[in-house]
């Protein structure tokens, strides 16, 4: 029997149709869905996460990227990652598991 994989262990990869466009100062940016014109604005930490999702990454590694780059504990970082993943799933911007 198949069991659904959680975001924690699954490879999280942006759909190929999602374009990443950094903002003028390069610390944040936006995701643009070229098929639906859906826009998702990202602050600098979200930008770090989505940039790492371009080629696929799991939630643990993404959490590590955040704790490495920002002064934030692991619990908070994981919560932020999972929250962003949930939002990207709602926007249909992630490849299915």
């Amino acid at each position: 029997m198949m069991t659904p994989r959680s975001s924690k262990s699954a490879s999280l990869r942006l759909r190929s149709r999602i374009r990443l466009e950094p903002d003028a100062e390069g610390e944040g940016g936006m995701l643009f869905d070229t098929q639906t014109a859906m826009i998702c604005a990202c602050n600098s930490s979200a930008w770090t996460i989505v940039s790492a999702m371009r080629k696929g990454n799991d939630a643990d590694r993404l959490t590590g990227l955040i704790t490495g780059a920002y002064e934030v504990n692991q619990t908070t970082a994981r919560k932020d990652v999972l929250s962003l993943v949930k939002e990207l799933r709602t926007l249909d911007m992630l490849e299915p598991d």
Binding site: R17, R19, E21, P22, D23, A24, E25, G28, G29, M30, F32, T34, Q35, T36, A37, I39, A41, C42, N43
Partner: protein, 723 residues
């Protein structure tokens, strides 16, 4: 590159805030064509404001109304052709495409080429017939019923359930949520377009539109797909982006095959949120009004059409770049009155060249709110234009509430745009004031801001409450006090009128409608048409007791606590923009006559006119109440008594204030100087000069970008690198 001049005639330059596609089509061809090009703009009256846009059409020509028939249209085109030869004709209005399609053979014999679908194929997919076409070709479309007899609207509407769309047979659509609204909108749409109305199931979803050009053999020459990202309250796509949706592209090509089309085409779809399926909403036999987006996206469809008309088998343009966006903003221009007179008298006129804004770079930095044309055109856009021309002003900071504020994309007007917080809930008033103050002070610290001018009615109280704290931080403003505003509010004016304190001005009899009984009394007293108004904003004309009931209920639902009823005053409408100093003395004013107003009663064309008695009376009134800062005064001259009725006084500049720069009566400059307690500047022109130029406004697409929108959200500001 062509060496001989290409000469194309284009229609569809009117429409005001719901623009016809002719201007965008002409701009696209003008923007892309390599080689000499002449554009003849064909208009039904001189008030097709888009036609006067500098640098687009070379000449404008009056053409007879469509109702005058094929022969009248042909005769006029032939007459224009003799004076100014035409190689190609591109009609841009739904109702005229079948006419020119019927005339295509005769026009071709004259040397005027077209590429239009046969009239019978167009007829098969009009709004009235589309449901049948879709049924017979197995195309998904929302369930639609054509109701010719308006007495049957209620039955059908109830049967559909709510919400549902009420559509005119040619154009116009309103979403309604109950039977009363359905009847109200059906009456108004049927009166405008005739032939009853269409009732259509409301499919909730995102709106996607395809613009295409079909070759003479029906094959697709070019197509661009767009998704509406920002829809205003009337459902118009004010912001949109090109997309690449393979499923939509495939469906559009399948439909094209079934249409046997040639020439320009627009297919409108809604993708259901519930099912993800695409429903065909409309087929239009012309380009959409957003077609200039295809020039931004390097896939210029109007230019491709013109090439195909002139030399069939032309090369297809490249596919549109994906993710390219437009925002629909406005352009304001001044047109010599003599040009308009010439068009009226001789039927043709040259379109004058543009008068660029004279940009200065002084030392004062000014922040301006109300910088959007997303819903209505807000005064901040015209104000920025005026301040660009003021020698004392340097940096102009646009203060935007949302990424949809279209002024955000106007780098010609603003040096930087900063986001300010929205909070209009009365219970959070103090917190909202604090956030606004904090944000404005932060903007001053980062970019410098000496003066801030709020331009929206709903902000005036807030800015007045924080004015002293702003001043302590080095930011000045000049606004009417709440007491002065109360005295000159609609209720206050009604009182002053009762005390005979308005001098030469009258004020319409007013009844405060608190309940249905008051509404019935007002209706009995005033008859129809009657006008219902909120205390601060919004107004609607009603023509029956039923309509009065619907409007009154809608106002109540929207939170209006006091609703006022007045009889409609019939006559020419006037406006006065003015500015007073801190002592309530009138510094300067611009009286004008309104020439063209959009459906929502906003001024899209006007001309300066002397009203000395009115201005003197207003100066007295302003001094009496101690009015400080700007005001927008609306008046109607009763067509029977010739007396001037004061309709309302708003505590900010009118949206047409950009005209002030065009006629050298720069009221925003005076306001900024007064806010800084500097002396006013004297006007260098006489009154006659003002009357030589007519103010006109057109809707116009400007390039937008998702990155800018994201930057405003993330960073709270976007700079245009002018420092």
């Amino acid at each position: 590159m062509r060496t001989s001049t290409t000469r194309v005639a284009i229609t569809g330059f009117a429409g005001l805030d719901n623009p016809e596609p002719g201007l965008a089509t002409a701009r696209a061809i003008r923007g892309h064509w390599s080689g000499p090009l002449e554009i003849e703009g064909l208009v039904y009256d001189p008030w097709a404001t888009g036609g006067w846009t500098p640098g687009v059409a070379d000449r404008l020509h009056l053409i007879p109304p469509i109702a005058h028939g094929d022969a009248a249209a042909l005769n006029r085109i032939q007459a224009i052709h003799q004076q100014h030869p035409i190689d190609a004709l591109i009609p841009c209005l739904d109702l005229e495409v079948p006419l020119y399609s019927r005339l295509a053979g005769r026009l071709a014999r004259e040397g005027i080429k077209t590429l239009l679908a046969p009239a019978e194929d167009i007829a098969a997919v009009t709004k009235v017939n589309l449901h049948g076409f879709c049924y017979s070709h197995d195309i998904l479309t929302p369930h639609t019923v054509h109701v010719r007899d308006l007495s049957a609207v209620a039955v059908h509407a109830d049967h559909f359930g709510y919400p549902l769309w009420i559509k005119g047979t040619v154009a116009g659509a309103k979403k309604v949520i109950n039977r009363e609204q359905a009847l109200f909108e059906a009456e108004s749409l049927a009166a405008r377009w005739g032939g009853g109305v269409l009732l259509q199931e409301a499919v909730e979803g995102s709106e996607h539109v395809v613009a295409m050009v079909a070759r003479a053999d029906g094959r697709c020459l070019a197509m661009t797909t767009m998704r509406k990202i920002g829809l205003n309250a009337r459902g118009k796509g004010v912001i949109g982006s090109t997309i690449d949706d393979p499923g939509l592209n495939r469906l559009a090509l399948e439909i094209l095959e079934k249409l046997h089309w040639r020439g320009p085409l627009e297919l409108e779809f809604v993708r259901s949120h519930a099912s993800g399926r695409l429903y065909l909403l409309e087929v239009n036999c012309r380009f959409p009004s957003w077609i200039f987006l295809t020039e931004f996206a390097k896939a210029n469809l109007p230019a491709a059409l013109l090439r195909e008309i002139l030399a069939p088998g032309a090369r297809a343009p490249r596919p549109a770049r994906v993710g390219v966006m437009y925002a629909r903003d406005v352009q304001e221009i001044s047109v010599p009155a003599a040009s308009i007179t010439s068009l009226k008298r001789s039927g043709s006129a040259l379109v004058p060249a543009s008068m660029p804004i004279r940009c200065h770079r002084g030392g004062i930095a000014v922040g301006i709110t109300g910088i959007s044309a997303f819903e209505l055109t807000q005064p901040g856009l015209g104000m920025a234009r005026c301040l660009r021309a003021a020698p004392e002003i340097g940096r102009i900071i646009g203060l935007a509430y949302t990424p949809n504020d279209t002024g955000m994309f106007r780098r010609d007007l603003f040096d930087i745009c900063c986001r300010i917080p929205i909070d209009t809930t009365p219970e959070k008033e103090t917190a909202g004031d604090g956030r606004m103050l904090e944000q404005l002070v932060a903007i001053r610290k980062k970019h410098g801001m000496d003066v801030v001018i709020p331009n929206l009615d709903l902000e005036i109280d807030r800015f007045h409450r924080i004015a002293a704290e702003l001043e302590a931080e080095g930011i000045r403003t000049l606004l009417p006090t709440p007491a002065a505003r109360r005295k000159l509010s609609k209720i206050g004016l009604s009182r002053l009128s009762g005390q005979h304190a308005l001098g030469v001005l009258e004020f319409p009899e007013t009844i405060a409608v608190r309940n249905r009984r008051d509404l019935a009394l007002a209706y009995k007293r005033f008859g129809t048409p009657m006008i219902l108004k909120g205390v601060d904003a919004r107004a609607a004309r009603v023509y029956s007791a039923e309509q009065a009931e619907v409007v009154w209920s809608r106002f109540k639902e929207d939170g209006e606590t006091t609703i006022l009823a007045q009889p409609v005053v019939f006559g020419e409408e006037f406006g006065v923009g003015l500015v007073c100093d801190r002592a309530g003395r009138l510094i300067d004013s611009i009286p004008l006559k309104k020439l063209v107003m959009c459906e929502r009663g906003k001024t899209w064309s006007a001309i300066s006119t002397p009203l000395p008695m009115v201005v003197d009376q207003l100066a007295e009134l302003m001094a009496k109440v101690g009015w400080q800062g700007p005001a927008d005064v609306e008046l109607i001259r009763d067509s029977i008594t010739e007396r001037m009725s004061l309709i309302e006084i708003n505590p900010r500049f009118p949206a047409w204030i950009g005209y002030a720069e065009m006629i050298d009566r720069n009221l925003p400059r005076q306001l900024v100087l007064a806010a800084l307690d500097r002396p006013p500047v004297l006007s260098t022109t006489d009154g006659h000069h003002h009357q030589d130029f007519v103010f006109m406004r057109t809707a116009e697409e400007v390039p937008a970008s998702a990155v800018s929108m994201a930057t405003l959200i993330n960073r709270g500001e976007i700079g245009y690198g002018k420092d």
